[in-house]
Amino acid sequence: MTPGAPDSAVRVAIASSDDVVIARQKGRALAMEIGFTASEATLIAAAISELARNIVRYAGAGEMLLRDDGNGMLLMVARDQGPGIPDVQAALRVGFSTSGGLGMGLPGVRRIADMFEIVSNGSGTTVTVGKYKR
């Protein structure tokens, strides 16, 4: 692996709770491979689990892209073509949920992220999360 080259990338199709587990396992493996500690890799796996679950719950299907940006950051991109998030600010508040959840998922991911971006409209949602190595 050449340092500085974005040479590690994984794509996982997400349509069921099994895929959520596959995505977080692949994310953990990728994180370890590019030099994150086991502890950080567990945190990354948990974040991927939250993002992938949201795809299944709110959009039914979508995909997760996981890659090394080549500068010490792991990028996690969750993409779906679902109905979109009606109120993104609300979705980022602890305790807010439209699905009977506790509203801890997305706010938790944002809390641990070094880079966090949501683009959502009527034709889908893309959440991009970046995490640097310590």
């Binding site: 796996a45 948990a46 801890m104 809390r111």
Partner: protein, 119 residues
């Protein structure tokens, strides 16, 4: 994947062997709540040593499980939360409020023995 549930005296022990999906976790919760009354159980131990991740759904399901079992008259102890998993839970703001935890199976059994003597 079904989680094996063993009965030892008046304690049920659910030992998670692999990463669980959300569906598996909900099945485990429901199976334990049902078995508590079938076997007249006083205590339940959920061993999460092999659980790769505890995210918001898993922590909520474990909490619900313990609260439901308490309503049925038994106590639950979650044992074996790994250091990396604990680290991630704290970073993500996840808690297991009002739920007993113990280092491992042995400690969990000791905790239940103590609790049941008091009752």
């Amino acid at each position: 994947m079904a989680v094996p549930i063993l009965k030892q005296g008046d304690v049920l022990i659910a030992s998670i062997q692999l990463a669980l999906t959300d569906v598996d976790l909900v099945m485990l919760r429901d199976a334990l709540v049902e078995k508590v009354s079938n076997y007249r159980t006083r205590g339940v131990i959920v061993d999460v040593t092999a659980l790769d991740v505890v995210d918001s759904f898993a922590s909520r399901t474990l909490r619900d499980l313990a609260h439901m079992i308490r309503l049925r008259g038994a106590e639950t102890v979650i044992v074996g939360i790994q250091p990396d998993v604990a680290f991630a839970m704290v970073q993500l703001g996840l808690t297991l409020e009002n739920i007993a935890t113990a280092l491992d199976l042995e400690e969990g059994l000791a905790f239940l023995a103590k609790t049941n003597r008091r009752q």
